[in-house]
Amino acid sequence: MGNRIFLSDPTACTAEVVAGARLLAVADRVGPDRAWRRAAMDNLMRVVVAMFAWCMPLLLLAIAIGLAVKAMPLISTTPLMDLLTSSEWRPLKGEFGFLAFIVGTVEVTLIAVLLAVPFGVLSGIYLSEHSNTATKRLAVPVLDMLGAIPSVIFGIWGVVLIVPLVRNGIAPFFGVASTGYTVLTGGLVLSVMVFPLITQVVHEVVRTVPNGLRDAGLALGATNWETTRKVVVRKALPGIWAACILGFSRAFGETIAVLMVVGNVVQIPWNPLQAGYPIPALIANNYGEMMSIPMYDSALMFAALLLLAIVLAFNLYARRVLKRMEIRAN
């Protein structure tokens, strides 16, 4: 095989080359058996890794189908519109109206996002545009850590700090008596959970804006801030929007932290200083008795399916926006 030229070349017949040829001859003793085994291993692994990879879209499908199958009994007996627009929640009588839970979820999420977006976007822009290296080196790990803290820890923080703050500070300020376990409390705790995410995505997105644009802005005599606002932010706008959507969908499905501070009263919270009952809290609080009441399990799985559908829609939308930005940037 490989040593043919080697041996037949008289000009190369130094001692060194003879030694080399001897060594190469050893290589040739390795039979086709090994080549076959290597190819077989390669083909096997090709199938294995591809299988694992394709399991992921299937997993998504399996989750949706699994929940849908369990939710079927409820959907087939009660029209979908009634489920979504009725606020009659009497599991024992078989009445399942999700309106109160839907309103609760949306309210908590909106409060969280409205609070988190200004902070998240501003600090994201600050980090990528206006901060020095030392700040960045401190901020990035801090954001990572905030993102890694489990939600139950945020929950305990909410119970210890935010609940009293709402009970003794915010509610009396508006002349309302409150236990502190309110929709607003849930929103506040959630916003702290969401803004690291928003900050990180904004930070990433703003960094993709090409430097040439910044230089162009500055060269026209714009101040740093004017360049940021009129050039960089405008360019990064779709990404910032996507960051907010991702924050929204993260907040939407958050369970334990909200559950711990939101009060969990089945009612439509007309103002944020009332207790509410978001969908994730509903599922988590009642899994214990869901098998003992007819249709209750079906109702909870329907709730989970609802959650999945909304989060999925928001996520796919945000990913598409980000993807388009990435393509444009390249």
């Binding site: 030229i5 070349d9 290589a27």
Partner: protein, 254 residues
């Protein structure tokens, strides 16, 4: 010196990427034990041609290849051709040296190990041999088990050469192998090529005309995916037959 035989030849090769024809009806004979330089302006398909020779192009999605590449008379694109066996017969040096994420020793031993288990003693012997072969032994013999990433760029490229030689190739392919190197390291590699072409067929892509003049025995000039002219270096540089070749060599197109 005896007359060179052809070990590697390309017959009627077309490469399409999507609708775009990257190579159009390429016919080249690469002489054995000679250094062939493929020259031409950037984007003319030099690198693509090189990558078809060891079927690395297979890894680029969306390419369609027709025609033949004959190695020792066998079409490497024939159905059932042994791709890994083929690649083993071709050493590759890329633009930037690419040491593998392991020690200097393991880099050279990598090819031998994947192609067949051998006693430790023999591997060690061969590693030393090929490191000497690439004129690197003296510089690294004290730190064989340190990471290859710690070598200078020039040393890394010689390590890649040793690594390529260690699997026992017949042909050495170089894709602008000196473009990332400093002048002294470039000299090193060029000297090595001059020495190695006594035993191997060497094919390099280069955009440095002076390098082609210095090293090449045989030159292939390409333009827009076609081979415009090929022949012995002396003839091609001193008496180009084609208008385009003349223009390129004189520097009026690039």
């Amino acid at each position: 010196m005896h007359t060179p035989r052809t070990t590697l030849s390309v017959r009627g090769l077309h490469v399409n990427y999507g609708d775009h024809a990257v190579l159009k009806d390429v016919n080249v004979d690469f002489p054995d034990r000679r250094l062939t330089a493929i020259i031409g302006p950037s984007g003319c398909g030099k690198t693509t041609l090189l990558r078809t020779l060891n079927r690395l192009i297979d890894n680029t999605e969306g390419t369609r290849i027709t025609g033949e590449v004959l190695l020792d008379g066998q079409d490497i694109y024939a159905r059932g051709a042994d791709v890994t066996g083929l690649r083993r017969k071709m050493g590759l040096l890329s633009q930037r040296p690419t040491p593998l994420p392991m020690s200097i020793f393991d880099n050279v031993a990598f090819g031998m190990r994947i192609h067949g288990e051998r006693p430790k003693q023999q591997i060690a012997e061969r590693v030393e041999y090929f490191l000497r072969h690439a004129s690197l032994w003296e510089e690294v013999k004290e730190r064989l088990h340190q990471p290859a990433g710690g070598l200078s760029i020039g040393q890394q490229q010689r390590l890649c050469l040793a690594r390529g030689l260690a699997v026992g190739p017949e042909v050495i392919l170089g894709d602008e192998p000196t473009s990332a190197l400093d002048p002294i390291s470039t000299r090193h590699i060029e000297d090595k090529f001059t020495e190695l072409k006594e035993r191997y067929a060497i094919i390099i892509v280069t955009h440095v005309l002076r390098q082609a003049r210095r090293l090449a025995d045989h030159v292939v000039f390409m333009y827009l995916g076609e081979v415009v002219e090929q022949g012995p270096a002396e003839q091609l540089f001193n008496d180009p037959q084609h208008e385009l070749t003349r223009a390129y060599i004189s520097g009026s197109i690039s």
